[in-house]
């Protein structure tokens, strides 16, 4: 039989939360051209929000300049930003 030499692996310090754990945010930004009713409609269509929730996010975009409309995996965040760009909203993704 072949002898196998074993070695202890170096230990790695890990925090409770790593970079990979952090969710990605989908952020919608205000622009002066898109209609408020259109933005509400897009939120309902893309995310399935209730009318009230869609309107709340729309008003946050309007008054504060931006709203985080979704958080989760990077892949899905990219999917949603692509959808929102297809509706001509100003949307970005960013790590929370």
């Amino acid at each position: 039989m072949m002898a196998v030499e074993t070695k202890d692996l170096p230990s790695v310090e890990t925090g409770e939360e790593t970079e990979l754990d952090k969710p990605w945010n989908v952020v919608v930004h205000n622009d002066p051209v898109n209609l408020m009713s259109y933005v509400t409609h897009v939120f309902r269509t893309v995310f399935g929000f209730s009318k009230e929730k869609a309107r709340r996010h729309m008003l946050e975009v309007h008054h504060k300049g931006r709203s985080v409309v979704w958080s989760g995996t990077r892949e899905k965040a990219e999917f949603y930003v692509e959808q929102l760009h297809g509706y001509l909203l100003l949307a970005t993704l960013e790590k929370s």
Binding site: P32, V33, L35, M36, T40, E78, E82, T92, L93, E94
Partner: protein, 165 residues
Amino acid sequence: MTFRELPSGGDLVISDIPEGLAEMLRQAPRINENSGPEAEARLFPSPGSEDPTLIDDWKAHVQPGIYDLFLDARNTVLADLGAMKETGDSFELVIPRRRIPAWLNVLNQARLSLAAIHNFSEKDMSRRNFRTIENSRDLARFQIDFFAAIQEWMLEVLDGEPGGE
């Protein structure tokens, strides 16, 4: 102009469209053709990340799909506009209900392109009730409001109630 929703199937009809406004509608799908870098940047924004790989991937793999989506919508609207009927001294346009999303998209493309081309600010966009069109900026501002009125009506139809804020 008269806006109505047909009871059978819910198709939309715009009647009594004056020649000038009919021409504006015909122009809508063509406004962002060769409209320059400002409109291009607004229609195809960055995903916002500072990661250059993501931005390059976005340009290479995502934006071509969005470009095709916009083009399909414009072709759909062009087909509807091609069927616009002259009725005496005005025009009538029928928009099949299933094509409302394409119309909303194209009218938005046009509005955003006009605003980018003319560099309209928030203050410009809040201007209301101007009475005369004296230059190309005034005309663009009027077109933006005209297309917005049609969008508002379509949203009311889709959402089943007034969509204005």
